[in-house]
């Protein structure tokens, strides 16, 4: 489906906010789902890139999808240079969504770097529930203060935002998992739900920490993808099946949201 760039703005160094206008027929995404994006007609780079949805708005005659992204390679670098009016091919919404529950008292979001994007969309859904008796708490980590992205919006949506930086330039000096570790005993499985997205080592560490307690945790993963719809089997990762045996699952179709304990972290 073709979409038109209406905004593609640098937020901080190497991080951009892209807003795309799409036809009304575009399927409404749920938090955790992603879209495949590529510049119309471009053959190099060839494949679309998966981006989780940051915000979504349905208007009378169109929809607006916002994507918060970090420049990491050739395609995101090209994307960051595209101006308003440029056409993008966008397909979606693809993949599994976070399981949203009203049967909880505390929603805990653990974000590493650009991992904040899908969790912000999730926070806005919890905000929209407006039950008033669910607290949304966010732990936000980055390498340094200059690399923190999306904090203001998260602060609007959460009852508490706790920041960590690897270099100590803002908030807690250390990793976001270490910051969360200090509080972990204040949450219990009967009233808290954890959601996490970030670099693989962070999620692995979180998985090890949570293996000691029974807190439920959903993670959103990223992999190199080709099709995005489950056909090519290119994004498979090792997971545990119901009997605890290793099995491949597709990040694009079976995920990107998984139970943290289903993943075999390497």
């Amino acid at each position: 489906m073709l979409g038109k760039i209406i905004r593609n703005t640098k937020i901080i160094d190497g991080h951009f906010l892209l807003a795309v206008k799409l036809p009304q027929s575009f399927q409404t995404p749920m938090p955790g789902q992603f879209v495949m994006v590529r510049e119309k007609g471009r053959l190099d780079p060839l494949l679309g890139r998966p981006f989780s949805v940051y915000t979504f708005a349905r208007m009378e005659n169109a929809v607006i999808v916002e994507i918060l992204y970090k420049v990491v390679g050739k395609e995101t670098s090209i994307l960051s240079m595209l101006k308003r009016g440029v056409l993008l091919e966008i397909y979606g919404s693809y993949g599994s969504a976070f399981n949203i529950t009203t049967n909880t008292k505390k929603v805990v979001l653990i974000c590493g770097g650009i991992g904040i994007a899908p969790l912000t969309f999730l926070a806005s859904h919890y905000w929209g529930l407006a039950t008033g008796d669910i607290d949304v708490i966010c732990y936000l980590g980055a390498t340094g203060a200059a690399k923190l992205v999306g904090v203001a919006r998260m602060e609007e949506l959460c009852q508490g935002v706790f920041i960590s930086t690897d270099d100590g330039s803002m908030g807690y000096h250390g990793t976001v998992t270490d910051l969360f570790a200090r509080d972990v005993t204040s949450y219990d499985s009967s009233n808290a739900s954890i959601y996490a997205c970030g670099p693989r080592p962070m999620l692995k560490k979180l998985s090890e920490m949570l293996s000691m307690c029974a807190l439920p945790c959903q993670v959103s993963l990223e992999e190199r993808m080709a099709c995005g719809v489950g056909a090519c089997l290119g994004c498979s990762i090792e997971t545990y099946d119901r009997e605890g045996k290793s099995t491949y699952r597709r990040v694009c179709k079976d995920g990107p949201v998984f139970d943290i304990h289903d993943i075999i972290w390497k």
Partner: protein
């Protein structure tokens, strides 16, 4: 629709060998289309000529460890490792979905030994709702020191002969381009009774992460596909179409109707669309539409009038 339009709609049906006629010359290539279900939300599968399902083996295969894919300029490398649920689960759980369509279903078959190919072919041939077989001979023969079946004319002959003796279904043999002279292999499988020849499978390639000093793929090497390989595929189809009398099916980097028509013009009876699905989930249907439009604009009433019409002289 008025009578004028009806008169102008080109005839798109083509005969692809062994008595199998498909409604138009555009097929979904094996390994890029799953078993149909994944793409069914994006287009009406009835619009394409045939679906070639992901390769099926006798026993389930888990596939290769990740990373399994890497993008390269205008293409991608894959080393999926032929992950599939095995022929029994394929027939029980995957095939029924495709039976609801009028589009031809062609089952891609592979194995590690002659006997394995033969047994899969026998099982599939006893199943309803299968219109043809495509034999992937780009696999190593474990009983012959891992030599790829399709790189040796004698082994390619032998496997085609075995498969033909085990089925009454039309048999397409899919050739690997990783050979010195693909015409020799094409003539060999034709002599063994292949009803059609599809080419090309992926070209073996490699990509390296220089920072980490490791290959990008866990399998080290992978198959290159996408627009990057189209000129090679087109050249090979042109060569083979001149050498054999059975229908030739062009595969390799086809992304647009114009790409597909290049293959038809050099002698392909039909084409397969593969990697293009990854960048546009309705690529195959867009190609059918684009081709019909071109034929109408150029007053071509039957696709068969277009096939093999390349002028080689200047």
């Amino acid at each position: 629709m008025n009578s004028n339009n009806v008169k102008n709609i080109p005839k798109m049906a083509v005969h692809i060998g062994g008595g199998l006629t498909i409604k138009n010359p555009v097929m979904a290539a094996s390994g890029t289309f799953g078993y149909g279900e994944e793409y069914a939300p994006y287009y009406d599968i009835n619009r394409v000529g045939a679906v070639i399902v992901k390769g099926v083996s006798l026993e389930p295969r888990a596939g290769n460890p990740p990373p399994r894919i890497m993008e390269t300029p205008c293409g991608m490398l894959n080393a999926i490792g032929l992950e599939n649920p095995g022929v029994k689960i394929f027939i029980k759980e995957k095939l029924p979905f495709l039976r609801q369509y009028t589009t031809a279903v062609i089952v891609n078959v592979f194995g590690e030994t002659l006997d394995e190919y033969k047994r899969v072919v026998e099982i599939v041939s006893q199943t309803e709702g299968v219109h043809g077989l495509e034999i992937n001979i780009s696999c190593p023969n474990v009983k012959k020191g891992g030599i790829v079946f399709g790189t040796d004319p004698d082994m390619a002959y032998e496997i085609t002969k075995e498969v033909k003796s085990a089925t009454d279904l039309p048999v397409l043999v899919k050739l690997t381009p990783n050979v010195t002279d693909i015409c020799v292999i094409a003539e060999s499988v034709q002599a063994a009774g292949a009803d059609a020849i599809s080419l090309i499978n992926t070209l073996t390639g490699m990509s390296v992460d220089i920072e980490q000093r490791i290959p990008h793929l866990a399998n080290i090497t992978g198959g290159l596909s996408g627009p990057a390989i189209k000129p090679i595929a087109l050249r090979m189809v042109w060569q083979v179409a001149k050498k054999v009398t059975v229908p030739v099916i062009g595969v390799g980097g086809i992304t647009s109707a114009r790409d597909a028509m290049e293959f038809l013009m050099v002698g392909a009876r039909a084409v397969q669309v593969g990697t293009a699905h990854f960048i546009n989930p309705h690529a195959a249907v867009d190609i059918v539409d684009g081709m019909e439009k071109y034929f109408m604009e150029h007053n071509i009433r039957d696709v068969n009038e277009f096939i093999g019409t390349l002028h080689e002289g200047r």
